[in-house]
Each structure stands twice: as C-alpha cells, then as structure tokens.
Amino acid sequence: MAGGGGAPPPSGGGGKKPIDFDINLVPFIDLMSAMISFLLITAVWTQIAKIDVKQSPNMPSEDSTPPPQEEEKLNLTVLIKPSGYTVTKKGGTVIKEIETKGEEFDVVTLGETLKQVRAEHPENKDVQVTAEDKVRYDELIKVMDECLKHELDGISVAGVDT
C-alpha cells in the first residue's frame, strides 16, 4: 500500500463502516409514552388553595389574656351589607360607602379605596372584614382577596350582631 499522509479515501477499503447512522428511537418513544400516561393520570386540573385569617376578636379563645389594645392602630374595617360595602377606620369614621351596582358588588372601587388607605397608612396591614348574616360567602372571599391583593394580610373575620 502506498504510504502517505493524505486522508484516507472515503470509500474503498474493506472493513470501513459508513459514518452516518440512525439513533434507535423506539426506547425513547416508549419512555415518552409511559411518562405522558403517568403524568396525565396524576395531573391535578383544579388547584385548591387557601385564604387564612387571624382569629377574630369576638370569637371564643383558649388564650385567656386579651391582646393589648394599641392606641395607634388604624382599625380598618370593611363591612359587607347586601346594599354594598362600608369602609371605616378608628372610631367608626367612614372612609367610603360603596353601593352595589345593580346586583353586583363594586369590587373595583373597594380596591381603589384600599389602595388609597394603604398609601396613607403604609404601616397598617390589618383589616377586619365584617359581614351581615344574609351576605353570600362568595362576597366575603372576594373582599378578602381584594384585601390580600393590596397586602392587607392581617385579615380577621367577624359577623354583625343583629
């Protein structure tokens, strides 16, 4: 054989295997099919989460010592009535009365009011959500969600004694 430093010819000599080859895709597709089946069976399509609240002041408690009353607290309260929302603060001062729009509660205006209160009192993160007996549970959750959106995460829930 003639010696030389040149590259070997692309074809010719026996024993040389072709360079291009196919990856065997069958096991890969098997794995994919098994994974898809498993994930589809175990998939959870509805995600249930929680909204947690602090203990309400007028609920029975095991802790016999009452919480210290702070004069500086804003005591922000959102009262939900069938006719709309009433946002009040310390001493029962009404910040805003938001009436329902037809059948619907005006959550947008409530959001704006809470945003304004947050801007005025950035240190306050507590809010008490109070509802009348006839109010739907859904409305309570909507108000709590709106409070949480504006970082008022110290929510307590109470009822109105009628």
Binding site: L25, F28, I29, M32, S33, M35, I36, L39, L40, T42, A43, V44, W45, T46, Q47, I48, A49, K50, I51, D52, V53, Q55, S56, M59, P60, S61, E62, I80, A131, E132, D133, K134, V135, R136, Y137, D138, E139, L140, I141, K142, M144, D145, L148, K149, V157, G159
Partner: protein, 184 residues
C-alpha cells in the same frame, strides 16, 4: 449521421439501476418510514407541559358535587388539616354529617353543639396521636360559594369553641398559590 426512427427515449439513463425507475420496475417497494420528528416534538411538548402542572402534594380537598368553591387570586398552598364541608344542604366534618344547613341557619343560638362535640373529639384523637406536640388548631372550611355568611359564621364559632382557631378558607386558585410564609 444515420436517421433514427423516432421513439421513446429512455428517461434518465443513469437511474436505470433503481428499481422504481427502471424499465421493469412497476412494483413499488412496500416498506415506508413514518416521519418521527413531529411525533417526538409533540411528545416533548406534552411532557414539559404536564411536568409543569405536576403537583406532588396531590389533592387534599376533594371537590364534591354540591360544593362550588369561590375563586380567588391571592392564595396560599393548602396544608393538611381537618375539613368542614358546608353545602346548601348539609354541614359535615371529614365526610360525617353533623347537621342540616337549614336547621343550623334557623336556630337563633350562635353555637352548634353537635359540630363542637365532633371537633373536640377529633382534637382529642389528634392530641393522642401526637403526644407532646403543640396543637396547631388548623381547620379548613370548604364551603359552597352561595351559602349565607350566617352559616359560615356559626361554623367558625363552633370551631373556635373546640380550639380550632386557625381557620383556612378553601378557594379555587386562579393564579399561582404561594407557600406559607412566602412574601411578594
């Protein structure tokens, strides 16, 4: 130059070795390859999507037919705790009925003794099972969105009386739920 008789000229004589194009090659080969690339693309996309949705915790709260949960966007992830189911018809604790919703609403007394008793019993079992551990008092209220607040309030009152003071409302999350203690 001799004159040739017109006739059929052979098409691409250099391909005459290929069976399909050669003169006698009327029979086509039966082996055909399926194009696998789009199939694998689709599989990969599906797997990625399903893995993103995958939840290792599973479902803590089962959705029953007569309870439609309210929706909320700013939520936290649920943790294991006793569940009180409130539907328009019944009130149940962990699947055991404790009363009819109508009867509880009509009763003027704010207390619900049968619910309190059941919860106290569960608390005793919990304390027996975990001796030495501090009782957390966590409870999940799984209520239908159309029930009156009065009913929820009475259930909350009964829970607080039994020592379950950390009340969590189960909601359908319309956004990503945060872990407990996570800010932002």
């Amino acid at each position: 130059m001799p004159i040739k008789k017109p006739g059929k000229k052979p098409f691409a004589p250099w391909l005459k070795d290929f069976k399909a194009l050669s003169k006698g090659g009327k029979k086509h080969t039966k082996a055909a390859d399926i194009l696998l690339t789009p199939l694998i693309d689709m599989f990969v996309l599906l797997v990625v999507f399903l893995i993103m949705n995958f939840s290792a915790t599973g479902e803590l709260v089962t959705i029953s037919k007569d309870i439609k949960l309210p929706k909320a966007s700013t939520t936290k992830m649920l943790e294991r705790a006793p569940i009180i189911q409130i539907s328009a018809k019944t009130v149940a604790v962990e699947g055991f009925k404790v009363g009819d919703s109508d009867d509880i609403i009509k009763d003027e007394d704010l207390r619900v003794p049968q619910l309190t008793d059941k919860l106290q019993e569960m608390r005793k079992v919990d304390e027996m099972m975990h001796p030495g551990a501090q009782f957390k008092g966590q409870i999940i209220i799984n209520a239908d969105k159309d029930v009156e607040f009065k009913l929820v309030r009475k259930v909350m009152m009964a829970s607080a009386e039994a020592g379950y003071t950390a009340i969590n409302y189960a909601v359908l999350s319309v956004g990503p739920a945060k872990k407990d203690g996570e800010d932002g």
